[in-house]
Symmetry: C2
Subunit: 226 residues, 2 copies
């Protein structure tokens, strides 16, 4: 592996797994970064480990960070995860974790500086998404501007780029891209509220968005056949 | 306590303790936030607890976050802390922790959103400082711009402000301000590499800057008399 080093934020879901596939296809030496951030289940991290292994990353760092200490999200507390609610039009759902992408990108920035990587890849998507503010292109641009003032590398003239290959793709396009790049979709995990053995609930926003993506692409979801 | 809520980043050093005193004097309901981030010693956190208690904060959250997992800094690894090196002119010293203020401000942003606070106070200082890029006013402005695109509160029109009362003060002015506001200076801890019972080494950059501040203000440092 002699490609340029890049940090890849990897949750083990459809989107971030596709991003890792894109970075690998682009010849990067991939440093995957995942977080144990007080999620209610470990299935995401199991998925992340399998995906990282599949693509032969240079390293996979799993960092503990207890965002649950602040409370405020259904993903890190006992609040109920809404079911079949994707189209109800609430501006931002309770599954939003406060400042999550900012926290994750900041830690990726630290990792990038130590590994001398000039790219952080993240699977944000502003088309078929859950309405989180920190998935929008204007947010990503502002983060990048801040990052280039924040670090020693930035001061010394190196540019950091936040790479968002999925930002303008619909979910069906992401499914097509994932298949074309050989993402082992049966190992990806998107559900916010899985049942036994990690089986997707098929009713939370993440499951509904994913199902629409597979339907739109004309494929079955292999994660439902496990 | 009926003042507006504010998040105060509190390390237990001279600067952040003075910032907590300023926020208290300004009538804020203070939510102090400290980090166990892989520092080589616990004296900072002991100091932070004493200072928080002194000022009667509404809460003091100490969050674990292992920045040491990335390596790269003398403050979180076995690299030697430089002594008597403050004026050698190296652009940015090895005690710089990659992206530390970005990570800390990001977590403060998460805390602020959950507590409905519109201010994050931080003791950065761009006059008598160690040359860290993430202490400069242009960095703070960029962070604030990003933060206002990142959160649900931001999307709904609330502005988040990063408050930096010390940014244009010299160290002697900070010492004067701390004394005027009743900061218990004997409990503050600045040293990067303390000896037994937390005694300052008096030779690292933090100790040298602090000593110059007390000398400039014409006071003795009560932390040296413990």
């Amino acid at each position: 592996m002699s490609g340029e080093p890049a940090i890849i934020l990897l949750s083990g879901g459809l989107d971030s797994s596709t991003v890792l596939a894109e970075a690998t296809a682009a010849g990067r030496t991939c440093h995957a970064l995942s977080f144990r951030y007080g999620q209610r289940h470990e299935h995401e991290l199991t998925a992340a480990r399998r995906i990282a292994e599949h693509f032969g990353v240079a390293e996979h760092v799993v960092m503990d960070i207890d965002l649950g200490v602040f409370g405020g999200s259904a993903l890190t507390t006992d609040l109920a995860v809404p079911k079949d609610a994707l189209d109800e039009g609430a501006a931002i759902p309770v599954t939003y974790v406060p400042a999550r992408n900012t926290v994750f990108l900041s830690l990726a920035l630290a990792h990038a500086e130590v590994r001398h990587a000039r790219e952080v890849w993240i699977g944000v998507n502003a088309i078929d998404y859950s309405g989180y503010p920190d998935c929008r292109p204007e947010y990503i641009e502002a983060f990048q501007a801040m990052a280039n003032l924040a670090t020693r590398d930035g001061v010394e003239g190196a540019r950091l780029e936040v790479v968002t290959p999925l930002v303008e793709l619909g979910k069906a396009d992401i499914v097509r891209r994932a298949r074309a790049l050989g993402v082992p979709l049966e190992h990806t995990h998107s559900c916010y509220d899985p049942g036994e053995a990690g089986r997707p609930c098929e009713h939370c926003d993440a499951c509904v968005l994913r199902a629409r993506g597979f339907a739109g692409a004309g494929f079955g979801d292999p994660a439902l056949d496990r």
